[in-house]
């Protein structure tokens, strides 16, 4: 009886009983292995001569094959600049895009979580129609896009004045929310070309800004959604007391709201950062030389001679490293009980 208890029941809340330990650690370690093994394989592969990759699996350097740094040499010296440039680009683009997306997105999420929006269906449709018209004008009509946009907005304004009062049906926050996320449904295959054309019009092809804008936009929905839920979890009283203390909305947002969703914020930023860091197709189209990013380089390692496993491995490794560092840095912020002591009842 007693030894059994010892085995099954923990002695305190902050530790586990031996039996529980097993139940908990087994899956953790198992998944760790599942995660690490492929990466280990990548590392090993980066040290192999092509020949060693080609025939039969070799696992441990020095033991069953002679490691060589040829791949690393190739990536760092032979390619040299051609590795460095995309690398820097990736860093710049993804960090900038993440910043923008998270900032704007979090604000929207906050607005949707805390305030009520009731745009009328009619005016929304009107607006879309107007913009669509503008798009058509510039795309097929060959009108300069700025003019087209102005015209569209003008039409919208006028039409709204005329019809505005008529519209009865209204949308609510959750409609907006869903609309936002729905922007990710269309696969990039079909959007790539139009986006390419847009940036051609703007004359931004092959620039950082093109990629930054694009990434920020395509990731906005994710930010908005995740942050929305996290904001909803924050008790309103805290923001109310900030209001009483005389803080402006913006200030409340930064001083209180953001601080209290920190775990969510960090998680979201990391995700977005990584999504930007790894994006391929849009990068392919929006960049030619100057703005090329790392994923292109990785994909490029599969040419007429088949995948250059060793080079790919090196690239994969050097692509992971900074993200690891960053994650290590940020994960501290995903911590327990941020709200303890804030509210009574």
């Amino acid at each position: 009886m007693k030894p059994l208890r010892r085995l099954l029941a923990a002695r305190r809340l902050d530790e586990l009983a031996p039996a529980q330990k097993f139940v908990v650690y087994a899956p953790l370690l198992a998944w760790t292995a599942i995660v690490l093994f492929p990466l280990y394989w990548v590392i090993v592969t980066s040290l192999k001569e092509p020949i060693d990759v080609a025939d039969g699996p070799y696992y441990i350097p020095f033991v069953d094959f002679r490691p060589s740094l040829h791949a690393w040499k190739y990536i760092f010296f032979d390619l040299g600049r051609d590795t460095l440039r995309p690398y820097l680009n990736s860093v710049i683009v993804s960090s900038a895009a993440t910043l923008v997306a998270v900032l704007i997105g979090a604000m929207a999420a906050y607005g949707l979580a805390r305030m009520e929006y009731r745009p009328s269906v009619g005016s929304v449709l009107l607006f879309v129609a107007a913009i669509a018209l503008a798009a058509l004008m510039s795309f097929w009509g060959g009108v300069d896009w700025r003019l087209a946009l102005l015209a569209g907005l003008a039409i919208f304004a006028i039409a709204l004045r005329m019809l505005g009062r008529r519209f009865r049906r209204r949308l609510a926050n959750h409609d907006i929310l869903f609309w936002v996320i729905s922007q990710r449904i269309l696969p990039p295959v079909v959007t790539a070309i139009p986006i390419y054309l847009m940036f051609k019009e703007l004359g931004l092809l092959d620039t950082h800004s093109a990629l930054i804008i694009t990434y920020a936009t395509v990731n906005l929905p994710i930010v908005v959604w995740l942050m929305y839920d996290f904001f909803c979890a924050v008790p309103r009283e805290l923001e109310e007391s900030a209001q009483i203390d005389g803080a402006s909305r913006l200030r409340i947002f930064f001083d209180v709201a953001l601080a209290l969703v920190r775990p969510g914020l960090v998680a979201t930023s990391l995700l977005v950062l990584i999504l930007c860091w790894n994006e391929y197709l849009l990068a392919l189209f929006l960049s030619t030389v100057e703005a090329q990013t790392m994923p292109l380089l990785v994909a490029a390692q599969n040419a007429t001679r088949g995948p250059q496993w060793w080079y790919m491995s090196v690239l994969i490794i050097i692509m992971i490293l900074p993200v690891i560092a960053l994650t290590l840095l940020l994960q501290r912020f995903i911590t327990k009980g941020l709200l303890v002591g804030a509210i009574k009842g």
Partner: protein, 359 residues
């Protein structure tokens, strides 16, 4: 006292016909209430009667379903909280968990861009006055309940708003500290003459702090008057029964030929029109145990309870219980028959049905 409170920046607070409903739940009904500039107004009422809601409406955190709210000369019904310049102690503290005690207290000043040096000074001072001087670097999660409450209080009084709203700010403090804080608050309010609306369940607090007391019941104002009058001249049965602890004794009976009568009770009540269904109220401290011979009420001792400085004796008169406050020297055994006499000037009569006072 109110008279000589400085009027400089203090503003009046006026609720005029304010009502509030959450869905179909009607929480406040046509509440008309005015706090003069510099007045210390205490809101009393049963749990759930709408006190917090009223404060939140004044603060602008809830929008009134009907009626308007004035602060000073200004109709603030449609103003944002931050534009109303009120400071509030939340019933649920609502501290910033990610800020230290010091930062929590400082926040209202920081937001207002008060120079750092001054902020530091003010925070220190206020923290001292709520006896948190040692804990400035702690985070709310590292505080005890009472300490948290004091942080909330400090955060409110660190500013000089035109109105203080305090929702049971001392409820979790020990008697000693509460006494101290009470004195502090009274002093501060007197010094600055900031209009204050104060919710409490502690009647001593109400009595000692209030210029006037507003008594709510189920969202309806019952009486708005000075503590003394509320205590000595209740407007109706509810008020009479709510104020004072142990509460007033109520005896059902009838008024007939110049006296109130009930089984075992005969209290002379001249110049009263005869009336069938009447409730007589008398406070425990207004009854005295008399020799079994005389006395207007007679009954058996039902229970005896020693409370520090005095003894509470419950006497069964007819079927009705009467609590009497006796010296803690009082001796008697359960079931002893005793007689009581009441301080005739201090008995109240109410209409048993409407609960209205019969004067």
């Amino acid at each position: 006292m109110k008279e000589n409170a400085p009027r400089l920046l203090s503003k009046s607070v006026t609720l005029d016909g304010v009502g509030k409903s959450f869905g179909e739940v009607r929480v406040l009904r046509n509440l008309v209430l005015e706090a003069q500039p510099g007045e210390f107004l205490v809101l009393l009422g049963e749990s759930g009667c709408g006190k917090t809601t009223a404060l939140r409406i004044i603060a602008g955190l809830e929008t009134a379903s009907e009626g308007r709210v004035w602060i000073g000369e200004q109709d603030v019904t449609d103003r944002l909280p931050k534009e109303r310049d009120v400071a509030m102690v939340f019933q649920s503290y609502a501290l910033y968990p990610h800020k230290t005690v010091a930062q929590n207290i400082a926040y209202p000043l920081v937001v207002r861009r008060v120079p750092e040096a001054e902020v530091a000074a003010r925070v220190k001072e206020v923290a001292q006055s709520v006896q948190l001087g040692q804990l400035l670097e702690r985070y709310p999660r590292q505080l005890s309940g009472g300490q948290r409450q004091r942080v909330a209080l400090a955060r409110a009084i660190v500013r000089r708003p035109s109105v203080f709203l305090m929702d049971e700010p001392l409820s979790n403090l020990d008697a000693k500290l509460r006494g101290h804080m009470r004195a502090e608050l009274k002093h501060m309010q007197y010094r600055l003459g900031v209009t204050t609306i104060y919710v409490t369940h502690d009647q001593v607090e109400a009595m000692t702090l209030a210029h006037r007391v507003a008594l709510l019941d189920k969202g309806v104002l019952q009486q708005l008057d000075t503590p003394a009058r509320i205590y000595s001249d209740p407007a109706n049965l509810f008020v009479a029964g709510f104020i004072g602890s142990p509460p007033m004794n109520f005896l059902k009976g009838r008024l007939a030929d110049g006296a109130f009568e009930a089984p075992g009770v005969r209290v002379p009540a001249a110049d009263r029109s005869r009336q069938a269904r009447v409730v007589m109220g008398v406070r425990p401290e207004d009854c005295t145990l008399a020799d079994p011979a005389g006395g207007q009420l007679r009954g058996q001792v039902y229970s005896i309870e020693l409370i520090g400085d005095h003894t509470l004796v419950t006497v069964l008169v007819g079927e009705q219980e009467v609590v009497v406050k006796a010296a803690n020297t009082f001796e008697a055994r359960m079931g002893d028959t005793v007689a009581l006499r009441v301080n005739a000037g201090r008995v109240y009569f109410f209409d048993a049905d409407s609960g209205a006072r019969i004067r």
